[in-house]
């Protein structure tokens, strides 16, 4: 099986992307900043600095692997399927598995650079003192295990998808499954063992213990290293190593499955009559379509661009799906959790909603850029300003119902349990980020070639930026003024640049 040609091609393409250098420089700078901030905020009295910084760095890396790697990998095969270049590869003597292996090699290296970038800082913790070899080994093994599981999630999602939203969603779901599996591998032995009674009474608690253990959030490892015998430590280390081997095996298995899926996709076998029938009934119900058209006719007259954006079933599903999903999640939370925990979980619900908004924002006019309709629209009497206004307005509208559910849940819980959380800060952050995201997303959607880049930039600038400013200014509510001001300035600047991009026609995807 040959895969070298694919590998070479992938590396050439990688080297040609100038953005990559900046992404790397940016990540390295971010890590260095966090490191400095952590050191400067200082350990409590009597503890060595390394002991304080190391678990935080490890947790950061652990989280980054599970979040970034699947997203980074998600579109690697599906993009080729979409662009029709996958079929071309099979005209050469390459086998599907060879293609998948060749493509995965680049992904492994890209993911490893993430770990490597953090290595100097993890090693620096040694110099600061208080970190043992056990900490270091456990961190490395757990992170590599996570890395292979996260890569498996991304590759599998990419091989099974054609469109990027599906690839991204599948990657996130698969990586959730992978993380669950990893945690379960720590939970199950204890559960079975003599001290399992506690876990049996609270499975949720068991998994949050496992998550804390894997991310070393409570500095469990250094306590273990101090208290446990050498035999216990080496058996724990063996356990980590076995998990890594299992993760590598899973990755290999995923590559084989991905190869099969890619071969199936390359043959593009026509859909069976049953599939056609299903599609006709559920995806193109003509009578429903007619009814829908009659109903939306008014909107087409008043605002054709809004009509265009709300036309697809996808847009409708996004709008009401998020609303419904949030209602279900809030109901489950309020039923099974204490009100205190319910309020605490709202930060996660808000972040999930912002994730949805970022997807929509970064996808602005992407289809229109690809099929050329944007060029056609710009030679109608429709102005650039109208295009921008309409898109931003529609992203807001799309998430209005879900946002209403979220805000209602927070306010209702807060009125029962006043002052138990910084509810005001939560809502203000949510408001700032949700309001600015469509501007940021629209700009990057117009300027970047690939959706994933647009999404990463959107999420980074509108979500991570204000939050990290708050972290640096240590979370004070008064500190809200700075992120608020910066987010506002950023959206004004990007709004002007989006207008400039449209006016100067710099969004063209297919320049000769």
């Amino acid at each position: 099986m040959t895969f070298a040609p694919v590998l070479i091609r992938e590396f050439r393409e990688e080297a040609r992307r100038p953005a990559n250098r900046w992404v790397r420089v940016g990540v390295a700078a971010l890590l260095a900043t966090i490191f400095c901030v952590l050191i400067s905020t200082g350990p409590q009295a009597g503890r060595a600095s390394g002991d304080y910084v190391f678990p935080k760095l490890h947790a950061l890396l652990f989280g980054a692997i599970w979040l970034v790697v699947p997203v980074m990998t998600a579109d690697c095969i599906s993009r080729e399927r979409r662009e029709g270049t996958l079929g071309l590869l099979f005209l050469t003597p390459l086998t599907p598995t060879g293609v998948v292996i060749g493509k995965s090699a680049l992904q492994i290296i890209r993911a490893l650079t993430l770990v490597l970038a953090a290595m100097p800082m993890l090693a620096g913790c040694f110099a600061l003192g208080g970190v043992t070899w056990f900490d270091f080994g456990a961190s490395l093994l757990i992170n590599l295990t996570s890395l292979f599981l996260a890569l498996s999630a991304g590759m599998l999602a990419s091989a099974l998808s054609r469109e990027w939203p599906r690839a991204l969603a599948a990657a996130i779901v698969f990586s959730g499954v992978g993380l669950f599996g990893l945690l379960a591998s720590f939970v199950v032995p204890v559960y079975r063992g003599p001290s399992g009674a506690l876990f049996r009474s609270s499975p949720f608690g068991a998994f949050s213990w496992a998550l804390n253990y894997c991310s070393d959030a409570n500095s469990d490892w250094s306590r273990m290293a101090a208290a446990a015998t050498a035999a216990q430590l080496s058996s724990a280390m063996t356990g980590f190593a076995v998990r890594l081997l299992a993760a590598v095996a899973i990755f290999g298995f995923v590559l084989v499955v991905a190869g099969l899926a890619v071969r199936h996709a390359a043959q593009e076998s026509p859909p069976s009559p049953f599939q056609l029938w299903l599609r006709k009934i559920f995806c193109e119900p003509l009578w429903l379509l007619r009814l829908f058209r009659a109903l939306t006719r008014r909107k087409l007259d008043a605002a054709p661009l809004s009509w265009l954006q709300q036309r697809s079933w996808n847009a409708r599903l996004t709008k009401w799906g998020w609303c419904l999903g949030l209602v279900v999640v809030e109901t489950v939370l309020i039923t099974f959790f204490s009100l205190h925990d319910f309020l605490g979980a709202q930060a996660v619900a808000g972040a999930a909603l912002l994730f949805g908004i970022s997807l929509s924002s970064a996808g602005s006019y992407r289809v229109e850029r690809q099929n050329g309709v944007l060029e056609l629209l710009l030679v109608t009497p429709m102005s650039e300003g109208e295009l921008i206004r309409s898109r931003i307005w529609n992203v807001w509208l799309q998430f209005l119902p879900a946002t209403a559910v979220f805000v209602f849940a927070v306010l209702a819980a807060d009125s029962v349990l006043p002052n138990s959380f910084e509810t005001a800060a939560l809502l203000q952050y949510f408001g700032i980020i949700a309001a600015t995201m469509p501007f940021v997303g629209l700009y990057f959607a117009l300027r970047t070639k690939h959706f994933i880049t647009a999404w990463v930039c959107t999420f980074g600038f509108s979500f991570a930026l204000p939050l990290s400013i708050s972290v640096v200014t240590s979370w004070s509510v008064q500190g809200l003024a700075l992120p608020l001001f910066l987010s506002f300035m950023l959206s004004v600047v990007l709004l002007a640049r989006a207008q400039g991009t449209l006016t100067a026609r710099r969004f063209l995807l297919h320049t000769p």
Binding site: L300, P304, V367, N371, G372, V373, V379, T380, P381
Partner: protein, 317 residues
């Protein structure tokens, strides 16, 4: 007493139109006039600057320098006036595959701010005109290339423009679809529309267009009728058969300024006269006094493609 009528405003006129992309001059001081009612062929090889020109006329791009007027409206200063009377079909389809045919046209009608009451009838009419009436309820993704191209034409017609700009509308179509497309264009010309159609194949437009312009590397090389071009650049070709010394004969012939080109090939000399007004007897008058023995003098047919290659040759090298 009647005052003499002012000359009618041309459909399109450009003056020193130039467009620069970075260091690359895609369009170089183009001066072009298209009259009302013309079916105008705009010809050039790939990368000659056709799309750039049409995009500027359609108000999609702005020129770096120079001016362009469409029915008297400046494309930079009054783009909305131009957009209302101009239909632009790019060299891609620009469709949503999951949209219905009527829905698509309805949408663009709304973008051109046609009132809803009028739109329904207009959509019906343009579909009729391009021959897509039976397909009105189909999804666009299910249409063939030729049908999608005709749908593009229907879209261009939705706001009843006076001038149509069509960028390589026939590329990628099979011969039958191409002929159908040409028939629709002729019908539109009869309806009084001005049509500019670009192509990289001259012969495709030879019978269709009443006037053509040829550009190469952003420069206008020729503008006028097809026949005019044949006369101007078609300088006839003669084959001269000699008893011996064809190399020397070619050398001698090249010294005459009325002869554009003379090359020797195995016993023959291929002679190209510089213009239509040059008499072929010149060849004999040059060769015989110099002592060459002329065996045969025969005229060769010059095809339109040959003319095109000749016109653009100096520029593409």
């Amino acid at each position: 007493m009647t005052t003499p009528a002012a000359p009618p405003i041309p459909a399109v006129s450009t003056a020193n139109l130039t467009r620069v992309y970075g260091a690359m001059t895609a369009l170089d001081t183009l001066n072009l006039t298209v009259n009302r009612g013309d079916l105008f062929g705009f010809i050039g090889s790939n990368g000659a600057g056709k799309t750039t020109t049409l995009r500027i006329l359609a108000t999609f791009l702005t020129p770096t320098t120079g001016t362009a007027f469409v029915f008297g409206h400046d494309v930079v200063a009054a783009p909305n006036e131009v957009r209302r009377i101009l239909g632009y079909m790019p060299d891609f389809f620009g469709v949503y595959k999951d949209m219905e045919v009527t829905e698509y046209l309805d949408f663009f009608g709304a973008c051109y701010k046609l009132p809803a009451a009028k739109r329904e009838q207009t959509v019906k009419d343009v579909l009729e005109l391009v021959g897509l009436s039976e397909k009105r309820g189909s999804l666009i993704g299910a249409l063939s290339r030729g049908m999608q191209q005709r749908l593009g034409l229907a879209r261009v017609l939705i706001h009843d423009p006076q001038i149509l700009l069509l960028d390589e509308p026939a590329s990628g179509l099979d011969p039958r679809a191409r002929i159908e497309m040409m028939a629709v264009l002729q019908e539109l010309q009869r309806m009084g529309k001005t049509i500019i159609i670009s192509s990289h194949i001259l012969s495709e437009l030879e019978t269709l267009c009443n006037r053509v312009a040829i550009i190469e590397r952003g420069k206008l090389i020729y503008a006028g009728s097809v026949q005019g071009m044949e006369q101007k650049h078609g300088g006839r070709i003669y084959l001269v058969k000699l008893a011996a010394d064809s190399e020397k004969a070619a050398e001698l012939l090249r010294t005459r300024k009325e002869i554009a080109e003379a090359t020797a090939l195995d016993g023959h000399v291929k002679v190209t006269l510089a213009g239509a007004d040059v008499d072929a007897s010149l060849i004999a008058e040059t060769l015989v006094p110099a002592g060459f023995r002329l065996l045969e003098l025969r005229e060769e047919e010059v095809g339109l493609e040959e003319v095109f290659l000749r016109v653009t040759k100096g520029e593409t090298q």
